[in-house]
Structures are given as structure tokens and as C-alpha cells.
């Protein structure tokens, strides 16, 4: 055992997923090379490492590849650039603003950084967090645990599965189960319809249509030793030996919260401004940690974009405080970033928001003190669990001395009349 040694760097990036690795590469290109990426797993690459199907890399690598190949490509680039990635190393706690306590195979030590970039990602809420009653037999998974089992260990999870959720990742679970030789009996969602573009593609790829049971949720799981059936809130019982809980993302925000970083009550993500700054001096947050959950390439672009903000902070030592908050109204559930610094130039091009229920023909309105800064009509239905992107062009119109920004949906008069 070598004694754990303390070190200091310019930038410590916490999390070696698409966001963290991309941030390291972009910093390197800006000439900031005294960077370390801390990754608690024994291999960097993040969540994509476990996905064998296509759907990664379009926006950053400009090609479509599998999750595993995508992660490998990012690792290759980081290696080629000579960036230090410390695997099997967990950021455990904060010792001061930007000094971290870390744990690796030699025990505890510290890393003093001038700047910290949090890129710790998201996970799916497991069964207990969703308060699903019943027995606790074997055969209950999240997509994440399922994919590791099949992709890394080639195990067959079961024979007949019910999938809870019908968003993008749920269809990823369908592909994984099919590939592993497990039938998918049904997908269950409390929403009125599925929430994925991928549904059709998956149906084509598997030559099977999976029945999607909408407007109901899972109520209880039966089976003491092994799952035998589930009951739905509509009273129906489905015989199955496997249940996969998909989506319902929760950011891995433990380190952020231990650092007293402000958290959005709906998304549970750290609140950042247009330059990915948190309220903790010298600490940025990127990737799915701040928008649960987007595709990997979007997270990678966060990583690219944060680099100039990091460089700016290192050059000026200026950390603006008291940003204007962006307040959302129902049925918008959250917006990311959730704050803006009107005086500072932001690299940000888009905001991302989500709705909690489907909305047809809405106008998205950004206002401050009752003045409309921006609005945009969305004739297509806005769907929960699917990202809605809005331009950041209105940032220049924000009154720095004004109140918080408000974002709301106005349902068009025509629709309201039709509904009546």
C-alpha cells in the first residue's frame, strides 16, 4: 500500500462520463492542462459504457455509434491528449470552497483545485424511491442495472418482463431485454401516451409491438422469492418474472448538496447560471447532473462549452454572485440553467425545460417584471420526459436590476375554446 498523497491542480473534474471527459478535452484545447478527472468507477466513460445499442454521438462526434464505442472513443481522445484520469477515485466531501476529500484504493487524501467541475450524472429512481408496495423478490431492476448485467456479464435477467415507464430510456430497456432473450409483456405509464421518438424505431428493430398500457401505474409487486406478477393501479394483474423501472431520473447530487450548492426543488439538480456556475465559488456543474436526463452528446456539448467559462474564471478570479433566478410556472416542471447573470456574457445558446403533463399548441413566454422578453409558439404537442429547447437570445434583453425571470406556457385561445 502506498500512502495516499495530497495534490493540487488547476481544475478537478468530478465524474468521467461524456460531460466530464469532454470538458477535460476542451480545457486541454484552451491550454489548460493541469487538469484531473476523478472517476469512481474502475473505467472512465460514464453511463454509455453499458449500452450496446446505437444512438450515441450524433451532435458531438457527428456519427451514430453504440454507447460502448462512444465511451471508448472519448477515453481514447482523453488518453491521446495526455489528460490525467484517476479511476477508482471518489470525491467524498469538501474541505473548503474548491478543495476535495477523495477516496481511492490507498484511503483518504485531498485534492486542492482552483476550480471544480461537477459532472456526476444521474441515476434512475429505483423501486423503493417510487414507493411501490409489495414483496421484494428477485427480478427487480432499473435500466442501468439491467444493462450492466446483460452488456458486461451476459446474464439473462428473466423470461417475462414488465417495463415501468415509456420514455426514451424505457425503449432502450426493451431493446436490451429482447437482446437478452427476455420477452417484454407490457410497458406501463401513468401518462396518456408514450414519450419517445424511439418507439417506432424500436418496434421496427424488434419486429414486435410492445403493448403500452397508458394512464395507469404499477401499484404492487408480488412474489416473495422471485417476482411472479404485478398489479396496476387500474386493478389489472400481469404475470411476469421481471420488472424494470426506467427513467424517473434523479441527479447524483450528493456531493453538490454536501457543498451547500442550491438545488432546484423539481429536478433536484444544482442551479447554475448561463455559464454553468453554481452558487459555490469556483464550482461549475454540467451534464445530466443539471438536466436529468438528456442524451450523452448533449452532455458532451455542456463539457465543451463550460471550458471557456472555466478559463474566464481562472483568468479574472471574478465569480458573480446573486444571479437572477428563472421561475417556472405549471405545467413547466423545471428549466436548466435555472439562473442567469445578466451582466456577464454567457456561452449558453439554449435553455432546456420539461413539462409535467402533455400540452398542445402552447406559447412559451419569457417575462421579467411583466415585460415579455421572448415568446415562441409550439404548435406540436409538448410531452413530459422530453426536452423542450428554447433560445437563449433573450438574455441580452434582461434588465440586470429587474426581478427574477418568469417562464410560463400560454395555451392558445383556439385550443382553450376547443377544450371547452
Amino acid at each position: 500500500m502506498t500512502a495516499a498523497s495530497n495534490s493540487s491542480v488547476d481544475v478537478a473534474i468530478i465524474g468521467g462520463g461524456p460531460a466530464g471527459l469532454s470538458a477535460a478535452l476542451a480545457l486541454h484545447q484552451l491550454g489548460i492542462t493541469n487538469v484531473v478527472v476523478l472517476e469512481r468507477e474502475t473505467q472512465a466513460g460514464g453511463a454509455p459504457r453499458h449500452t450496446e445499442h446505437l444512438g450515441y454521438g450524433i451532435r458531438d462526434l457527428h456519427r451514430v455509434t453504440t454507447g460502448q464505442r462512444y465511451a471508448a472513443e472519448l477515453r481514447k481522445r482523453v488518453n491521446a491528449a495526455g489528460i490525467t484520469v484517476r479511476t477508482a477515485t471518489t470525491a467524498v466531501d469538501w474541505l473548503d470552497d474548491t478543495t476535495l476529500q477523495i477516496a481511492d484504493t490507498t484511503g483518504l487524501s485531498t485534492i486542492a483545485a482552483r476550480c471544480v467541475v461537477l459532472a456526476t450524472g444521474v441515476r434512475e429512481r429505483p423501486r423503493a424511491a417510487r414507493l411501490v408496495a409489495g414483496d421484494r423478490g428477485a427480478g427487480i431492476f432499473t435500466t442501468g442495472s439491467l444493462q450492466q448485467l446483460t452488456a458486461n456479464h451476459h446474464q439473462r435477467p428473466g423470461k417475462r418482463a414488465v417495463i415501468v415507464g415509456a420514455e426514451h430510456v424505457s425503449f432502450s430497456a426493451v431493446l436490451t431485454l429482447r437482446h437478452a432473450g427476455c420477452d417484454v409483456i407490457a410497458m406501463v405509464t401513468p401518462l396518456p401516451r408514450h414519450q419517445s421518438y424511439a418507439a417506432l424505431r424500436v418496434a421496427t428493430a424488434t419486429r414486435h409491438r410492445v403493448p403500452i398500457i397508458t394512464g395507469t401505474n404499477i401499484a404492487e409487486i408480488h412474489g416473495r422469492k422471485r417476482v411472479e406478477a404485478v398489479t396496476l393501479t387500474n386493478g389489472h394483474r400481469i404475470e411476469c418474472d421481471t420488472v424494470v423501472f426506467t427513467g424517473d431520473w434523479i441527479p447524483d447530487n450528493e456531493l453538490a448538496r454536501r457543498g451547500d450548492i442550491d438545488i432546484d426543488i423539481a429536478s433536484r439538480s444544482p442551479i447554475v447560471d448561463g455559464s454553468w456556475r453554481t452558487n459555490r465559488r469556483g464550482v461549475f456543474a454540467i451534464g445530466n447532473l443539471i438536466h436529468p436526463a438528456e442524451p450523452a452528446d448533449i452532455c458532451a456539448l455542456d463539457g465543451r462549452n463550460v471550458a471557456s467559462a472555466v478559463a474566464g474564471w481562472m483568468a479574472t478570479n471574478n465569480w458573480p454572485t446573486d444571479p437572477l433566478r428563472i421561475v417556472v410556472e405549471n405545467p413547466i416542471s423545471w428549466i436548466s440553467p435555472g439562473a442567469v447573470q445578466p451582466r456577464a456574457a454567457a456561452a449558453l445558446k439554449h435553455f432546456t425545460l420539461r413539462v409535467s403533463e402533455p400540452v398542445a399548441d402552447a406559447t412559451i413566454c419569457v417575462t421579467q417584471n411583466g415585460t415579455v422578453l421572448w415568446r415562441s409558439r409550439r404548435p406540436r404537442r409538448l410531452v413530459p420526459n422530453r426536452s423542450i429547447s428554447i433560445s437563449a437570445s433573450w438574455l441580452t434583453k434582461v434588465d440586470p436590476a429587474g426581478s427574477d425571470i418568469n417562464v410560463a406556457l400560454n395555451v392558445s385561445v383556439a385550443v382553450e375554446e376547443r377544450l371547452r
Binding site: T42, A129, G139, F141, Q148, L149, R226, I250
Partner: protein, 463 residues
């Protein structure tokens, strides 16, 4: 295997393992058996993990005496064995006039139970101690000696020590028949084993009445009382400093909010009398009732994520006290109806058992100190050093609970070894954190398969 055991202990919960441990300090041939594949997998795995002072027991009862004695013994033993224990204390909070009035009764009862540490405080002092508590508290009784303890490592340490000192650990031995003749009991199991013993100890928990009946004895019937519990994320731990107890009613100790030594916060238990001794499922109604209670006690708790929901079954009987008896002609000691304080009382129950066995004619000569082997379990408590902090225990595998590779390998290889993922959970905390295996379940299974030589499908519970 000896021809005839001196003592066979039926049931490897916290009570049976404590008995086996104490017997292992004597020159005796002892076997510890359980119907299941693991120790501590019955009621002992699902409780609120409080080391009770016994302040609210029925004065003069066997339970009152054994809880007080067990408290002292376990409080001394835990640190020597590496079992995490935290001296946080409890507040018995009154929420209305009636409860406020009965705090005096509780204080008198504590004294009658021989517990002199309790004191009454007013509402203002309650909020000074627990600022996050819901409004409306009228006052409280402070019980500084109600501690929290690691409930899984306790039976594990007992069993490990028993095995280290020569006790035979026999899992998957479900006792179905007891025949006594010529001062020997023949024990038969559902798995077709036959054992012979001079004495038998019934520590079968929920099935203590069934085992009692195998000798044709009656006197008590176990009717399970289900207790559902919700465990909240570790980020909730900073919300409170003490265990928050309700003013007890005759039926149950009521719903409490308690920190755990693992750094979580627990809300529960409910109390429902049911008929099925295996019904450890959680219910919608139970979950909803607990959340409503939680909202009234510590509202901020409900903003935190839930890590686990589970249920335990108390071995309640028609009597309020423990059902302890012995029969010299049968060479038999019964430890029945150890309902809601068995973790605390376990080591005192062991002392009691040894004395009763001696009354049954068992000759027990203590081993010399240098003949005894001591053991330690891996600390799982947040208040003490854990392997990942020390290093050289391999990489962290379970990130939520920071369990290292070597801990998982040890859990699967050192007797009494885990044979299920639940067994690994209880020995290492792996898989029992906030992500419930999202990140590491496949890895833990693979490590377990590798260490045990048993294929991954077995660990996954696949048919």
C-alpha cells in the same frame, strides 16, 4: 459431527446466535441451526435498531429485567466486536395535552424500571434540541441512554464468535420433529437430517410456538404483528440529532423517527396483527400512513428521497411478556414471544438460557480465557472508520454505501458466509444505498459468483 450434541439451538436470529455464542464459551458440543440459508434473516433483519434502556417496559416483567441487563451487556460487547453503536439518546415527544400529561406517567414508569436517566423538558427546549421538528410539540421526556446500533452486525458477530469457538453452524435445517427418549432428543428436519442432543433451545422467533408444539407443549400462540418501515436517504441525517419517540400506547411503541448508524433516517414501524408468518410485504396503506406520520413529526424528511421500504414481523403472543420456560425432563428451554426488544435483550437471554440449561442438568464448564477466540466484524457505521477510508481493501464497488471489493469477497467466504444478495447487503451494506443497485448490482453479483464459486444466476435468484 459429534454423535450427540450437548445443546442444539433452533433458530439463528439475534437470540439464537447470542445463545450459541455464550454456549461456545463452555466446554460443550453445540450446533446452531436455522431453516433458512443464513443467520439473522428472520425478524432480526428488519427492526428499528434501537438499543433500548427498557424505560417503558412493564415494571417487574421478565422483559424489563432482561432488556436492562441486555442493554448493559451489548453496550459493552459491541465496541469490542466492531459493531457500530451511537449514543444519541431519544426524545419522547408529546404532541397534545393528553400526551403531555402522560409524560409524567412515563417518567415514573422509567424509575419503576430502574432507569434513572430520564428528565422532562418544555417545548422550547425540545426545539432547541431538534429545530426541524414539526410545530406543536408540547414537551418531551429526554432518554439520553436510548442508543442506536447496527442490527445486522450484531447477530453476525455472535455467530462468527460462536463458530470460531467450535459451534457447528447448520443452515437449511428446518426442524419438523422432536422426539425425546432416554434423555436424548432426536431432531429431524424437512431436509432429512437427523441430529441428537441432550438439550434443545427453542429460539425460533415467529415459529417458537410451532417448535414448542413439537414437544406437545402449549401455552402461547404467535400472531405476527407486522411493522412497516421507510428508510430515507443519508442526506436526511442532518435533520435530527436524537431518536424521536412517540408517547407509547398499550398496543405498540408507536411510530418513531430514528437515525441509523449507517447514516440514514428511519420512519416506522406500523403495527398490524396479521395471520401469515411470511407476510413481510409492504402495503400501500402502511406506506401512506407512515408518510402522514412523518409529515406530522419531521416535515422536511418528506422532501428527501426514500432509500428502502420494508417490513418486519414481531413475534407477538396473547401475553405481553416474553414466554420463557424450561423443562428438565425434556432438556428443553423455550425463548418464545421475544416481540419488540429482542435485539437489546439478546445477550441477557443467552445468560438466562445458560442458567436454565444448567437447571435442566447440563454440566457446563467454562473455557479458560486462553482457550477462547475473539472476533471482529467489519464496521459498517458512519461514526467509525470504514475500510474505504483506511485503504488497501480494493476499489469501492458500491458507491452509495462505499463498500470495497475485499468486503464483498469476505462476506461470501468467511463463515457464516452469505449465500444471497440480501446476505451480502447485511454484511457489507452493498446494494442497500440510494441507487439500490443501479450502479453496482451486476458487479456485486459477479464478485460474489467469483468468490463463492456459485454461478451468477444463483445470486440473481433466477430459476
Amino acid at each position: 459431527m459429534p454423535e450427540i450434541y450437548d445443546v442444539v439451538v433452533i433458530g439463528a436470529g439475534v437470540v439464537g446466535t447470542a445463545v450459541a455464542r455464550l454456549l461456545s464459551h463452555q466446554h460443550l458440543e453445540v450446533a446452531l441451526l436455522d431453516a433458512g440459508p443464513d443467520i439473522g434473516a428472520g425478524t432480526s433483519k428488519a427492526n428499528t435498531a434501537i438499543l433500548h434502556t427498557g424505560f417503558d417496559a412493564t415494571p417487574g416483567s421478565i422483559e424489563s429485567r432482561l432488556v436492562a441487563r441486555g442493554y448493559a451487556l451489548l453496550n459493552d460487547y459491541a465496541p469490542t466486536a466492531g459493531i457500530a453503536i451511537e449514543p444519541i439518546g431519544a426524545l419522547l415527544v408529546a404532541w397534545d395535552d393528553e400526551q403531555a400529561a402522560s409524560l409524567n406517567t412515563s417518567a415514573e414508569k422509567a424509575v419503576a424500571n430502574g432507569y434513572l436517566g430520564a428528565s422532562l423538558i418544555d417545548a422550547q427546549s425540545v426545539y432547541e434540541l431538534e429545530p426541524q421538528l414539526a410545530s406543536g410539540a408540547r414537551g418531551a421526556m429526554v432518554v439520553p441512554d436510548e442508543f442506536i446500533i447496527d442490527p445486522w452486525s450484531t447477530p453476525l458477530a455472535f455467530a462468527k464468535e460462536a463458530i470460531a469457538n467450535g459451534v457447528a453452524w447448520l443452515p437449511n435445517h428446518s426442524v419438523t420433529k422432536l422426539d425425546r427418549s432416554h434423555d436424548i432428543t432426536v431432531i429431524s428436519t424437512a431436509e432429512q437430517h437427523t441430529l441428537r442432543a441432550r438439550c434443545v433451545v427453542n429460539a425460533a422467533g415467529l415459529h417458537s410456538d410451532d417448535v414448542h408444539a413439537l414437544f406437545g407443549l402449549t401455552g402461547f400462540t404467535v400472531r405476527p404483528r407486522r411493522g412497516e418501515l421507510i428508510v430515507f436517504d443519508k442526506l436526511a441525517r442532518s435533520l435530527l440529532a436524537h431518536t424521536i419517540l412517540p408517547v407509547p400506547t398499550s398496543h405498540t411503541k408507536g411510530v418513531l423517527v430514528a437515525p441509523t448508524v449507517f447514516g440514514n433516517v428511519m420512519l416506522g414501524p406500523t403495527a398490524d396483527d396479521i395471520d401469515d408468518k411470511t407476510a413481510t410485504s409492504s402495503t400501500r396503506a402502511g406506506i401512506d400512513a407512515l408518510l402522514a406520520k412523518g409529515q406530522r413529526i419531521l416535515p422536511a424528511l418528506l422532501h428527501e428521497e426514500v432509500t428502502a421500504v420494508y417490513a418486519g414481523l414481531r413475534a407477538a403472543t396473547q401475553h405481553s411478556d416474553y414466554q420463557i420456560s424450561h423443562d428438565p425432563t425434556l432438556g428443553y428451554v423455550c425463548l418464545g414471544g421475544i416481540r419488540s426488544t429482542g435485539l437489546t435483550a439478546s445477550m441477557a437471554l443467552a445468560e438466562e438460557t445458560l442458567a436454565l440449561l444448567q437447571q435442566c442438568g447440563l454440566v457446563a464448564t467454562p473455557k479458560a480465557p486462553d482457550e477462547l477466540r475473539s472476533i471482529r466484524v467489519t464496521n459498517l457505521g458512519e461514526a467509525f472508520e470504514r475500510p474505504y477510508q483506511r485503504g488497501s481493501s480494493g476499489a469501492i464497488v458500491c458507491h452509495c454505501e462505499r463498500t470495497t471489493r475485499d468486503e464483498i469477497v469476505e462476506a461470501c467466504t468467511v463463515a457464516p458466509a452469505a449465500t444471497t444478495l440480501d446476505g451480502i447487503r447485511r454484511r457489507t451494506r452493498a446494494l442497500s444505498g440510494r441507487c439500490q443497485g443501479f450502479y453496482c448490482s451486476a458487479e456485486v453479483c459477479a464478485l460474489a459468483a467469483n468468490a463463492s464459486g456459485k454461478p451468477m444466476t444463483d445470486w440473481l435468484g433466477n430459476q
